[in-house]
């Protein structure tokens, strides 16, 4: 198997946590993994992106070639669109619909949504609403991961183990909340 994923968002939204859970899950399933992150300047409210590559064979490049990504996971709709062009034919986009507006010339939302909806395989999800319903706006990213989980090539149990490993230090309640968020995200896609 081989899955090339682009994670996109705005600095501080938590795409690296999504990457970390997938990473832990991949290690548990003895997969090879390379994950290029963004640190530094652009984390100050700029656009951030991470290339995550999973495979059962050794991986060379840390970066994904244009037109080769299997999946774009975005925590922000305009950022999803920024990387849609990296998808291979038939690749999927799973994105949050909540805009993060920290620039004066943010595009008109209706037009943005229209463009996203016109993509061949896009899931546009209100992950923030789901997270809020669960009782914590901070788990939006795990809802998103749940929604993207059918396209990862990794089983749910491994993702759950990843969450337990990553959040374990923060206590059972936090682990539980994140596991719930994962399940709720998954249900979201199965229903759309």
């Amino acid at each position: 198997m081989k899955t090339d994923i682009i994670l996109a968002g705005v600095g501080g939204q938590g795409i690296l946590t999504i990457a970390a859970v997938i990473g832990e899950a991949a290690v548990r399933r003895q997969l090879f993994l390379k994950q290029a992150e963004v640190h530094g300047m652009s984390q100050r409210g700029g656009d951030v992106q991470s290339n995550l590559r999973l495979s059962d064979k050794p991986i060379f490049s840390d970066l994904i070639s244009r037109g080769k990504a299997d999946l774009v996971i975005a925590l922000e709709p305009m950022e999803a669109l920024r990387y849609a062009g990296w998808l291979k034919p038939g690749g999927f986009v799973v994105t949050s619909v909540t805009p993060f507006i920290n620039i004066p010339d943010y595009p008109e939302e209706a037009v943005l949504m229209q463009t996203l909806k016109a993509l061949p395989n896009a899931h546009l999800l209100d992950v923030d609403a789901v997270a809020k319903e669960l009782g914590s706006s901070r788990v939006s990213n795990m809802v998103m991961l749940g929604a993207a989980s059918p396209y990862l090539g990794i089983d749910d149990a491994a993702l759950e183990e990843g969450i337990i490993h990553l959040f374990g230090r923060k206590g059972a309640a936090i682990v539980d909340m994140n596991l719930k968020a994962l399940a709720a995200g998954k249900a979201l896609v199965n229903h759309t």
Binding site: E37, V38, S42, D62, S65, R66, M78, G85, D105, P107
Partner: protein, 529 residues
Amino acid sequence: MNNSLLLGDEAIAQAALDAGLSGVYAYPGTPSTEITEYIQASPTAKQRGVHSRWSTNEKTAMEAALGMAFAGKRAMVCMKHVGVNVAADAFMNAAVTGVVGGLVFVAADDPSMHSSQNEQDSRYYGQFALIPIFEPSNQQEAYDMVFDAFDLSEALGTPVMLRITTRLAHSRAGVTRRAERKENDLRFSTNPSQFVLLPANARKQYNALLAKQTLFQEASAKATSNKYTPGADRSKGFLAAGIAYNYLMEHFPNGCPHPVLKIGQYPLPIEAVKTLAADCDELVVLEEGYPLIEEALTGLLDSRWVIRGRIDGLLPRTGELNPDHVGVALGFPAVTEVEVPEQVRMRPPSLCTGCGHRDVFEALQVVYKEKADECRIFGDIGCYTLGYLPPFRAMHACVDMGASITMAKGAADAGLKYPVAVIGDSTFTHSGMTSLLDAINDRSCITVIISDNETTGMTGGQQSAGTGKLEAICQGLGVEPDHLHVLVPLKKNFDQMVDLLRREMAYDGVSVIIPRRECIQTLSRKKRS
């Protein structure tokens, strides 16, 4: 199979600990910061008492590391590429003294300038200093190379450079660890003149360094990271260094049909280069950074060979490589650039909401507009450099750490009426204190704003060397008490700040204003923990 998932930086840090490190010395700088942070957070390092406190700048870090190596222990010094400029005096001379304990110098380059003001290639510094350079292609190799670099450093008595780039530093992969090696005992050189670089001694030491070059060449010839793989299709051959090797192999999942010389250790293994050249008339060089190998080949080989790379335009001259560039260089069809839809806008970084630097620039902007063409604002390196961007647009220069104060002084000397310097607290202690002394000794008519958020913010909130000491430092350097002010940059103090700026800019001498309020990022982190 995979032991732990580590960033390239973390792999280097873990390797150093496992290889018997006694101290890491560093000043933060993307993409090198996480090496030292990993060691600071390591329980093993704490228990062993491995030194890991941040240094005030890269030069003090380099010198302290050299001191530890002088005393026979293993030391590592880490910095971003522009930090090498700051450390260069100590670095160049450490190559001449040599070392007793192992000394590994990590230079983290940032091609494409993700978080930097240039994309200089540190390999030239390694070559300039005449020392061996290691360049890993992946996280595991980075881990393994740290062991080899320390061993080579001690075996040949030389500092060794480990050169990495952003993509390796900030990319995660599985790394398998080796057994831990004990730290060295205290041990000193038996040669009393080794570290005393008086001309007479320095000449001897320099000759000794030149004599080591053959040994460095032999080490490169034996290095497993320099690997020649023959190939049936000899229409061209590849030299691929560091992570550029991955971009080549990415295109050939079943093995490259052309001969390939992978480079992981310098000086260039000359015999291997000649073997490759004997097989192929056209050589393609894939390297991250400047065309160092490409240039070297033109000296090693005569004009019968066609040498291709960044100089002849086969690959872009600037920026980091990626699989797409390399694919085109290999003759694969270019992936047509998919148009990014026009709704997608630039999203540049910006100062955090609630950041004290914002209040400083809001006030400064007002006073700057009043003085118009008689005022220029000299910025410096840090979060506050974002004061250049809208809505502030209140900065006319940002060059290198500390330059704000000295450039303002030079412009004052040239006749500019209202030069203002804006510098962060960490940048001030890194390189601004000597600048301020120059201005004071010359009674330059400048206004210095030390925007103090009590941390090294841009690189993620590391401890700042001058926290709690800035007024004392300024007074000690000779700033007049009447022209040294501290205030809290908050909306409610806006008028006070504007008045103060007006008053001090009119003063015919050096004034220092210290707006002080803790970085909201470090503050919220403290609250959460």
